[in-house]
């Protein structure tokens, strides 16, 4: 049975097969097209990738920009990047992650649960967050303000004030609409029951899952990985609750896929989940760990992890703002011009949907080879019956394909990115 999935970033085709009990026993995931960004990049001057790569994706292009910058800087091996630039890159990427989460929740998930789509509830906070990126980077989407050696801007105390107000506004919005809680303690909760008696769209959604006894729905391997280490996210992998810090990019393998334009991705030959739930597991966020303990890597945990990331990132973003030193530079011109650089580099960040990896090979500043592995490739790898991908495994055993669609979308699918 075939189901077309729409209103994700792009479209996908799910081909379900059922066993004798009318339960899903396999799902073939197909993405329709590819735009060959990697080939477009070949033979172009290195810095042009900073302009082309944000155009991989309209909703998470900024993650592609930061990954590109890091991959190019990695080709230098020892390049000096000012601390202010590192802070701003993290900050604007945080903003992008959050605008994405709001859109996912209100545009993709709620309508699946029988709610009308609340367009403005998504756009109100996402517009504020886009504005905060624009204060630093000039515009959103599709700025290229981060470049080899730093960032192009030179922000002032007034800009910091503006951004602070925007962050406060989003926090207020979150507390008013998603999780209504007077106690201001909600970031320290350790127990799911602490929040389920509150109000707000997030809580109502979680309760709906409980009422339908869906809170265990959509479980997969319970294998999580995070590569994009930064001042907030911890990299590492976690299997059930065993955490290991040692990761090696060389163990990531990409395989082409017979039925789909998207390539499959494994770490040491195993499929892993990436994204907010993985990040919360690696960051040992008590509330999410509790959800995982009770309901596993279910849709319930995924939704909670994704939306609960917003107040964490808002708080952390304010700390980042405090660490800026306006007397210090935002950009340090690299000692060697990029046109003289030959070598290869990795750039890895946490995007909204999880780990995003860029690999580049330069010869005299010209791109010889470019490779992008997106989060959706991890989560939506199209495996075989014997070796199912993460989202495939999560859909097995369901009998209702509408529920399967919710499971599928709980990974926040970006077909656009995946078919770069």
């Amino acid at each position: 049975m075939i189901k077309f999935i729409e209103k994700i970033e792009g479209e996908a085709k799910l081909n379900f097969s059922f066993d004798e009990h009318k339960k899903i026993d396999f799902v073939d995931i197909e993405f329709f097209s590819t735009r060959n960004i990697e080939k477009i990049l070949e033979n172009k001057p290195a810095l042009d990738a900073l302009v082309i790569n944000p155009r991989v994706c309209g909703i998470c292009g900024h993650a592609h920009l930061i990954a590109t910058t890091k991959a190019l800087e990695d080709c230098y091996k020892n390049i000096e990047v000012p601390n202010n630039a590192k802070i701003l890159r993290e900050l604007t990427l945080n903003f992008e992650i959050m605008q994405n989460h709001f859109k996912w929740f209100y545009l993709s998930i709620l309508p699946l649960l029988g709610e009308r789509q609340h367009l403005l509830k998504a756009t109100f906070p996402s517009q504020i967050l886009a504005k905060a990126i624009a204060v630093v980077g000039g515009q959103y989407p599709h700025t290229s303000y981060s470049l080899v050696g730093g960032v192009v801007c030179d922000i002032t105390v007034m800009d910091i004030l503006k951004i602070t107000h925007l962050i406060d506004e989003v926090m207020k919005y979150f507390e008013k609409n998603l999780l209504v809680d007077e106690s201001e303690e909600f970031l320290n909760y350790k127990n799911i029951e602490n929040i389920l008696n509150k109000d707000g769209d997030l809580i109502k959604t979680l309760l709906k899952f409980k009422q339908n006894s869906w809170q265990h729905l959509g479980r997969s391997y319970g294998r999580f990985v995070v590569f994009g280490q930064n001042s907030y996210f911890n990299s590492g992998k976690s299997i059930k609750t065993t955490v290991s810090k040692n990761l090696n990019f060389a163990n990531i393998k990409e395989q082409t896929n017979q039925n789909s334009y998207a390539k499959n991705v494994t770490y040491k030959n195993k499929y892993y989940e990436v994204g907010p739930l993985s990040r919360a597991m690696l960051n040992k966020i008590p509330l999410i760990k509790d959800s995982h303990r009770k309901y596993g890597d279910s849709i319930f945990s995924r939704i909670l992890a994704r939306m609960y990331e917003i107040p964490q990132l808002l708080n952390h973003s304010k700390k980042l703002l405090d660490e800026l030193d306006l007397d210090k530079p935002f950009y340090i011109e690299p000692k060697i011009d990029i046109s003289k650089i030959s070598g290869s580099g990795y750039g890895c960040v946490e995007a909204a949907r999880g780990t995003l990896l860029h690999k580049v090979k330069l010869h005299n500043g010209i791109i010889e080879k470019y490779d992008i592995i997106t989060p959706t490739q991890w989560n939506l790898s199209n495996g075989t019956k014997e070796k199912l991908g993460v989202s495939q495994k999560a859909m097995i055993g369901l009998s209702d394909i509408n529920l399967a669609e919710i499971v599928f979308k709980s990974f926040d699918v970006c077909s656009v990115c995946t078919t770069h």
């Binding site: 329709f32 302009v51 155009r55 309209g58 000012p82 504005k131 989407p141 599709h142 192009v152 030179d154």
Partner: protein, 292 residues
């Protein structure tokens, strides 16, 4: 007079969805969705699905096309060309949303054969949909500015007579250059050419490839996200509204023996060099120093 809302189909072809997301940043979205109905949209709730669009015959007033087209590209196994053909003929007006839909843009370099905009392959006219040219408005930009799209749609609703340029773009928005309104204008006027990144001072035209003086658009007139622009922030204009976007070597000004290859729109070489020669002879202390 407008007792019924105009029905809009937003169709995406070979694209990154950047225009869809940029449009979600339109500040008066609430009013907009009161005034118009998206009967199909890739993200926003709509009466019809993409499958309906393919299988049914739906009436629409305005067709918005995002992304480049190619005879090889399909949406759910349906050639995009067929979809465009079907709804473009029904629609009273067509808007090509973004540089890809208008000129082919970045994805004209993808592997699909004959990837172009609806009416242009870079600056050259194409012929497949020539008969629709009279009812098309182009809005280039990678991505589009939300207000530019919204107010063009309102202009259609109100039957306004929009003057268009040679690429069918509304002159209201595209008669200006990106340079108009840039906060770094003084550095350009007085040819202070010592720009480095990470500074609020300096002009990117001389060294860092800024295309603002010869690119059409309203980026510094209608600010992005209501607050800023690339050039104000310190990022060169990449010429994303132009037929040949993206050019190559975007962070470097192409010069021939020190003279920029591309000069400000409509400014002759001798005019430019005379002015540059005069201003460069003087040094203006205020502009050589940091603002504060």
């Amino acid at each position: 007079m407008y007792d019924k809302k105009l029905k809009i189909i937003w169709l995406t072809a070979i694209s990154c969805n950047g225009n869809s997301h940029s449009f979600l940043n339109y500040p008066h979205l609430e009013q907009f969705i009161d005034d118009f109905e998206f009967i199909y949209h890739p993200l926003i709730y709509s009466k019809y699905s993409l499958q309906d669009l393919i299988n049914k015959d739906i009436e629409c007033d305005i067709l918005l096309l995002e992304g480049a087209i190619s005879p090889e590209f399909k949406k759910m196994d349906e050639p995009i060309i067929n979809l465009v053909d079907k709804y473009a003929h029904k629609a009273k007006k067509i808007i090509t949303v973004g540089t890809c839909a208008t000129f082919g843009g970045i994805f004209s370099q993808s592997d699909y054969a004959y990837t172009t905009g609806l009416h242009f392959d870079k600056e050259n006219p194409t012929f497949l949909f020539k008969s629709l040219k009279h009812k098309t408005i182009s809005i280039s930009g990678c991505p589009i500015q939300p207000e530019v799209l919204a107010n063009t749609i309102y202009a259609i609703q109100k039957n306004m007579d929009l003057k268009l340029d040679n690429y069918l773009r509304p002159k209201e928005f595209f008669a200006y250059t990106i340079h108009n309104g840039c906060t770094r204008n003084e550095y350009f006027e007085y040819k202070v050419d010592n720009h480095t990144f990470g500074k609020k001072e300096g002009c990117m035209f001389y060294e860092h490839g800024c295309q603002a003086p010869y690119t059409n658009g309203s980026c510094n007139k209608i600010l992005w996200n209501g607050v800023n622009s690339k050039t104000r922030a310190g990022l060169p204009c990449m010429g994303c509204t132009s037929p040949d976007f993206p050019k190559q070597n975007l962070f470097k000004t192409k010069k021939n023996m020190g003279i920029p290859q591309n000069l400000p729109l409509g400014v002759g070489k001798r005019t430019y060099l005379t002015l540059a020669g005069i201003t460069k002879a003087f040094s203006i202390k205020r502009l050589e120093e940091d603002l504060f």
